[in-house]
Structures are given as C-alpha cells and as structure tokens.
C-alpha cells in the first residue's frame, strides 16, 4: 500500500495523523481509499473530479504530470503540495 503524507491542513480529517496507507494504482484511487478512511478527504483534494487547483501531487519524489491519473506503486510515497511555477 502507498504511504500518503497527509497535508497538515487536512489533518483535521485524520485526527492529527501525519501519514496514512492507501491502496490504489493511481492518485485518484488512492484518494478514494483515503476518503473511505477519512470522510471529507476527497472533496478537499479533488473536487470536481480533478486535483484542486494549485495543488500538485508528488509520487516518489517526482512531481506528477498526469494529475489524478498519475501512477502509484504499492510502495510509493505520495505527497500533496502547492504547485510551483518558476520565473
């Protein structure tokens, strides 16, 4: 199962838990799995069926390119971070 680092501003949903495990082959499935454990997670991370604007998903240290379709491995580490633009 993937290890998901819960953003601090979402830890009100996890009772303060910093990490959670979730099963899924892509980010969307991982969020669905998180939602089952922590209701309310999905609407905070992916309202309207896409990642919340301004949020990037980082899987195994790499910024995802495919949003919710980004692949997640069984031992992956997943983070949700502010999206970054450069100058």
């Amino acid at each position: 199962m993937a290890l998901v680092w819960i953003p601090p501003l979402l830890r009100d949903l996890t009772g303060g838990k910093e990490t959670a495990t979730a099963t899924g082959q892509n980010v969307d499935q991982v969020i669905v799995a998180l939602e089952q454990q922590f209701p309310g997670m999905r609407v905070r991370l992916s309202p309207d069926g896409v990642l919340r604007p301004g949020i990037a998903v980082v899987v195994d240290g790499q910024v995802g390119r495919f949003g919710l379709l980004e692949s997640v491995g069984p031992d992956s580490e997943v983070h949700f971070l502010p999206a970054i633009g450069g100058g």
Partner: protein
C-alpha cells in the same frame, strides 16, 4: 572534433552563439520593431486611483477625434466567469486575468488598464486617452501586507474568502490562501535547543527590471484567425490565455515569439496581447501596443513585498533541531503570490527534524505579482539565512562548517515532505570553503586587504576602498535552493543535404538557450554545434512547449533535442542499411558516422549520408515531444565582501563569488552568465530596489532613474564557480541553473554588513537610508 576528458565533444565547450551576429549587429527582431502596412498604434488608459468602482466609461469624445479607429474596454473581452484554467505553468483564475488586461467594473491598483485606443499615430492615441471620461467611486486602499491582513482592512474582493486546502473558513478577507507544513514536533524541538534566534523581516516589492518593455502586435485576419507577435517567455501560454480571454479555439491563434529583451518570469502572463487582438478585430488592421517604463512598473507583475518571522534553534553541537516560520506575501491585486515555493524553500537547505511553517497569500492594492527568478525563495532565504548566520555567531561555529553539518543532501526529508534525490549543496559548501575568497578571510589584516584589492584590478570599488581604507568591511555567506521544473517541450530537426541540421524548438531563448539546446542535439549526433541551425518556432511551426521558466529549458527542451537526435539516428541507420543492402541491425551509428557491422569497408560520415538522402527516400526529420521527470533541484552558496560607509550608509560590494551546483554545464559561458545575472539581480534587490508608494497608493519611483538597479559601475566582477553534481535524471546530467543564483545575495550581503558594522539588517532593501538609520540607532543606544 576533440573528445574532452569527460567523453563529450560538444557539451562543455563554448561555441559562438547562433544568434550572436544578429544580436550584436542590431538585426535581431524585437517586438517593438514590428512594422507592417496600415499599422495602427494602441495605447492603454490606466487607472489613476488604487482602488475604486468604475461607474461609467464615456468614449464618445475620444472616438470622435480624427485618426482614432477603435476603442475597447472589458466589454470586448469575453467574460470568462470565475473559472480556473491550467495554462501551461499553473492554474490561472480567468476572471482575474481578464480584469488585469482590462478592468471589469472595478480597479484594484493604480495603473490597471481600463480602456485601449487604436489610432493612426501614437500621438493621436495618446490624445484620445485624455478624452475618455471614466467616473470612479474611490474606495479606501491598502498597500502593506500586514495592514491588509487586519480585520478592518479595506477588502479588495467582496467575494474572497480564505482558501485553506478546501477547508471552508467562510470569512471574507484579503488573505486569499493559507498553507502549512509540519514536520516532527516543533515544541519538543525547541526544548532541545541550546541557542534560539528569532527575528522579523520585511522585504519590499521589486520588479524584474527587464530592459525591453512589454509589447504586442496583432493582426486579425479576414478568415477569423489572428496572428500575434510579442515578447513572451511562452508563445503557447500566450495562445492559451488569449484563447480563453477571447473565447476562441487555439487553432485560430498563431503566436510568433520575437526575440526577448529579458523576462525573468515577468513575461508569462498576458497584458497587451488580447487587447491588441481585440483592437485589430474591431479595425481589421494590425495594431501594435508597446508599454513605456512607467507602464511596466505600475501595471505588470513585480515580485511580492513580504513580512516573514523566523525562529530557529540549534543544540550545543551546532545541530539544527527546530525551525519555525510565518510568511505573508503580497499577491498584489489578485491572489497568486509565490507563497507556496517561498514556504517550501525557506528551510530547504537544511536537514531539520522539527519544522512548522505557515504561509499566507494576501491581496493588496498593488499590481498583481508575477514570477521572478525562483519566485518567493529570495524573500525566504533572506530571513532564514540571516538567522542561520546569527546561530553560527552565537555558537562560534564557522558558517560554512555549520551549513555542511546541517546541509540537505541525498535522502534528507524536506520540511514539506518529499525526500531529496542526489543534490549538490554540500559540494558547493566544500568548494566555497576551499575558495581563495573565503580563505582570505582568515587572514584579514589590513595588508592582506590591500593585496586582495590589487587582485581585483580596475574595479571602481577599488578606488573607493583605497580612498577610505579604514571603512568597516565584512564578509558574508549564504546558501539558497530552488526546485527547477521539467514540463513539456518539443523539437524537430531536419537533416540538410550539406550535412547540417535545422532545429526548430519552441522555447523562447533567454540567455543563449537555443545554443545550449543545439549543442545537445549536436552531441547526440556526433556533429559540431555550428552544424546545427536552431530557430525558435511559432505556435504553428513546432509542437507544444511550456514557458521558458522554472529553469527548465536546457533541461527539458534540451531533452527533446536529444530525443529528436535519437530519432534521426534511427532513420539514418535504416537509410544506410538500405544503401548497403543489409539489415538495420547490421549498421552502427558511432561518433557521427555509420559503420556496416558485416563489412568494415562500408562507412559513411553523417555528411556523406546526408548528401545521399534525397536520392534514397528523401529528407530525414527527427522529432520529439517530452514531458520529463527527473528534475534536479539546484543549490548555491555565495560569498560576498562589502564595505559600509558609516557616514552615508552606502554599502559597496568589493568582491562576490557565487558557487553553484549546475549539474552539467552544457555551455559554461551561458551558465556563468545566468549565475552572474541572477547574483546581480539579487544584489539590486538587497541594496536598492524598491517600489515606493505614497499615501495615495501611487508608486513614486516608476522610472529607471528613481528605481535604482545596479549597473556595471556599481559592481565588481561576479566570479561564478561551477560545481558539477550531475543530475542522474537527465541524459547529460543537466540541472536548471537560471533561478537559484538570485536566492542567496540579500542574506549574504546582510551577513556581510553585520560582520562589518555589527548590525543585523532585517529589511530589504538595505539602502543607505536604512543602514544609516540602524547606525544612528546603534549610536544612540
């Protein structure tokens, strides 16, 4: 071609840039050079107030002026609604983007565009602006980030509530967004600290200061398509933005990027392009709009002013144990400051077990901020690297040793969560520690100082220092981090019959990138760099490319060129196999030549085979479109010597050394140029640059005369030291290099000032007035 010790033949050499002759002879075409039959001249009417409701706009008198052909207001732009769109390099609120091009019902800063005129001459267009009558209802304004965060502050946007990762706050506020990072237990961490330092910092709004003002020329064609020539960091991004704002498909818009006179992040968002297009649509004629310098300062995106509070603690052995930061960044008129990267970079140089960071994106009545070289990171590093220096002082530990001890390296978990891959911070610190600049500090007597000055040659600083040999001097160091990014790039390359290759890529060339990209193609093909002819294509000439930003072009577009070369090689092998009547598996491509593996007498050089292409099936075109991962983050460590005139507060830079992990320098001269340019911009940010706002919310120094940027007369040579920790995520080890050099300068200079006069500077810029105020306060104390 000679093979270098590292196995490369082209990479790491310094060929003459392909666009060099055009640039030095003045023949390169910039946006303002555009001329065509029937060209009209556009001018923009801008808001005279910082905050107000537009009650009415009367253009009748202006339209009646002979020579005026059209006037547009926001009514001519499609109302995009309150929608978020992904436009290449991040999400954009289309309502805000549209209002920033032509205000929609309300103005949020002095200088915001309200209406635009097209006329047969620039003078008539200017006259027409004076005849447009706008009735404003003035509203109270706020230009300071902390004042804007107060409950009683005037609200810029009635419908704005603080966004907190989807958590509904329900509270109307100028705080657009709150972000947070936590790692470990911050309270426990500070309990372990033997030394704790806490300070508050303020940084001013500063502009990228590119020499070439924004410009756009649009021609609306009779078939409903539009062509736009403009100075931009991303032609495809302009196309996408214009398509949204004018509600038309991207296929009906062609954007031609002209040569660019600097961007640094400020030429990604559109300002003039949709307006010029709307005027051209209305008149049926080409329309050119160029900004003047005041327009650029007052109406394009600077980088935010900020308030930052940092607290850091270390144990008695000098190990960092806790760090806490509160950052509030001015977004300007619309949400979107770089608070995210600022908060993610502030402690990125260090391995700290316990961290807590809060960041706030705050709207104020100033121009909407844009990206500027490592957006958000310089403000943050000014605060954290000043605190680190103070910790070193209190612990009596050398500042480079402290950083080596605590520095982030492969495997370090960042404060925001992910783990660093192979990075080169420690390597830059080790090189800095051995550098003659840093070693000379240990001697420090007056005689050594003079010897050092003599080595500096004819720098004007030398005259100052020798004429005032007793002025206090100090040396400072600081490090910085920037993420860099990858994103999408495309390239195509055609093999010519004379053995050269024509390369079309889609990344605006800032700083010699087309040569760097051509060199990667040449290396992969085994030909010379001057045998590749690179051009930057328009949106109809090349596949999609994201913006030239995020230090991505040499990495990602270079990768596209590398892949295009592989495509060419595969086809060349097939063609040689056809000529030799063997299978492709029986042909090898080696060092720019093709060799038959089953008959050693059969060989063709790249050029020889190129000559045969037309007779054996036609031209070979290699192409690639990439969206690579494997981005390598960049670290830099800077050393600076300053002299402080205690009578005037003026800080003079005596010597400056910038050490940076560059991954692999494709063209070392251009890497050095990026480092020198970034350092100089950081020095300007540190010492002089600042938007001055008066009580009326008006910028009082909107010219290069009053907005003081450093010139060559203010600075010594910036010594760039390239450290190459190859990025394993790129075929040639490339890391982006363009942004991180702007990150350390303000902190390094602040630390140098402290070592000169014993005063910690907490506000940027550290201008003579601010330094004098601190000196006088110290005297009084």
């Amino acid at each position: 071609m000679t093979t270098l010790a590292n196995g490369f033949k082209v990479i790491g050499t310094r060929p003459i840039r392909h666009d060099g002759v055009d640039k030095v002879t003045g023949r390169a075409i910039y946006g303002a050079d555009m001329q065509m039959a029937g060209l009209l001249h556009g001018r923009i009417l801008r808001s005279p107030i910082p905050h107000g409701i537009i009650k009415s706009i009367d253009v009748s008198k202006a339209l009646a002026l002979p020579g005026v052909e059209a006037i547009v207001t926001s009514a001519e732009l499609t109302d995009p609604g309150n929608r978020i769109a992904e436009l290449g390099e991040g999400a954009v609120n289309l309502k805000d983007l549209s209002s920033n091009c032509l205000a929609r019902g309300k103005v949020h800063y002095k200088g915001q565009a309200v209406a635009a005129v097209a006329a047969v001459s620039p003078n008539i267009a200017e006259e027409a602006l004076k005849l447009i009558v706008v009735d404003y209802q003035t509203l109270p304004h706020v230009t300071d980030v902390r004042a804007a965060m107060r409950d009683d502050a005037p609200l810029l946007h009635d419908d704005q509530v603080t966004e907190s990762l989807g958590q509904p706050t329900g509270k109307h506020s100028n705080i657009a967004k709150h972000i947070q990072f936590k790692k470990g237990d911050i309270d426990e961490g500070f309990k372990q600290a033997a030394v704790v330092v806490e300070r508050e910092f303020h940084t001013a709004t500063v502009h990228q200061g590119y020499i070439e003002p924004h410009n756009a020329t649009a021609l609306w064609n009779a078939d409903g398509t539009v062509t736009i020539w403009c100075s931009t960091q991303g032609a495809f991004s302009v196309r996408a933005q214009v398509a949204e704002l004018l509600a038309m498909p991207v296929s009906r818009i062609k954007v031609v990027p002209t040569e660019i006179g600097g961007g640094f992040g400020g030429k990604i968002r559109v300002y003039l392009e949709p307006v010029a297009a709307a005027l051209s649509k209305k008149t049926g004629k080409p329309v050119k709009i160029t900004m003047n310098r005041a327009d650029v300062f007052e109406a394009t995106g600077p980088t935010p002013g900020s308030y930052i509070k940092v607290k850091m603690g270390a144990d008695k052995d000098g190990k960092l144990v806790a760090a806490q930061a509160y950052l509030a960044y001015e977004a300007g008129a619309f949400p979107g400051s770089p608070i995210g990267p600022g908060a993610m970079c502030i402690f990125a140089c260090y391995d700290i077990p316990n961290v807590h960071i809060d960041g706030y994106d705050v709207v104020v009545n100033k121009p909407a901020t844009s990206a500027y070289r490592a957006p958000g990171a310089t403000n943050a590093a000014f605060a954290s690297e000043t605190i680190v220096d103070e910790l070193c002082e209190k612990l009596k530990i050398d500042p480079l040793d402290f950083r080596i001890k605590n520095g982030a390296r492969e495997g370090t978990r960042r404060a925001d969560g992910p783990i660093f891959p192979l990075v080169g911070l420690v390597e830059t610190l080790e090189v800095a520690k051995r550098h003659s600049h840093f070693l000379s500090e240990r001697q420090g007597d007056k005689e050594t100082r003079r010897q050092g000055d003599e080595k500096m040659g004819s720098s004007p600083c030398l005259l100052v220092s020798l004429s005032h040999p007793l002025l206090p001097r100090g040396r400072g160091v600081a490090s910085g981090f920037w993420f860099n990014c990858g994103l999408k790039s495309s390239a195509s390359a055609s093999v010519n019959s004379d053995g050269t290759v024509s390369l079309v890529e889609g990344s605006t060339d800032i700083g010699g990138s087309r040569t760097g990209i051509a060199m990667q193609l040449a290396e992969a093909l085994g030909i010379r760099a001057d045998e590749v002819r690179p051009v930057v294509g328009d949106t109809d000439a090349v596949g999609y490319c994201d913006v030239t930003g995020g230090s991505r072009v040499t990495f990602a577009t270079g990768w596209a060129a590398y892949e295009a070369a592989q495509d060419i090689k595969r086809q060349m092998i097939t063609r040689a196999a056809f000529i030799w009547s063997v299978t492709s598996e029986e042909v090898a491509y080696e060092n720019g030549s093709l060799r038959c593996l089953v008959d050693d007498t059969k060989r063709l050089t790249f050029k020889e085979l190129a000559e045969k292409l037309h007779a054996t099936g036609g031209t070979i075109v290699g192409r690639a479109s990439v969206d690579p991962q494997g981005v390598g983050g960049a670290f830099a460590t800077h050393i600076v010597d300053v002299e402080v005139d205690s009578d005037t507060g003026k800080v003079t830079i005596l010597r400056y050394t910038a050490v940076q992990d560059v991954g692999k320098a494709i063209h070392p001269s251009y890497v050095e140029g990026q480092i020198q340019g970034g350092a100089v911009q950081g020095i300007g940010w540190a010492l002089n640059e600042e938007y001055f706002y008066n009580d009326q919310g008006t910028m009082a120094n909107a010219s290069f005369l009053d907005y003081r940027m450093p010139t060559s007369l203010d600075l010594p040579m910036i010594e760039a030291v390239l450290v190459e920790v190859a990025n394993p995520g790129h075929p040639y080890g490339v890391r982006g290099v363009g942004e991180v050099p702007i990150v350390p300068p303000p902190a390094a200079i602040a630390n140098a000032i402290y070592n000169a006069i014993g005063i910690r500077m907490e506000e940027l810029p550290m201008s003579p007035g601010r330094v004098m105020a601190k000196l006088l306060a110290k005297k009084r104390a």
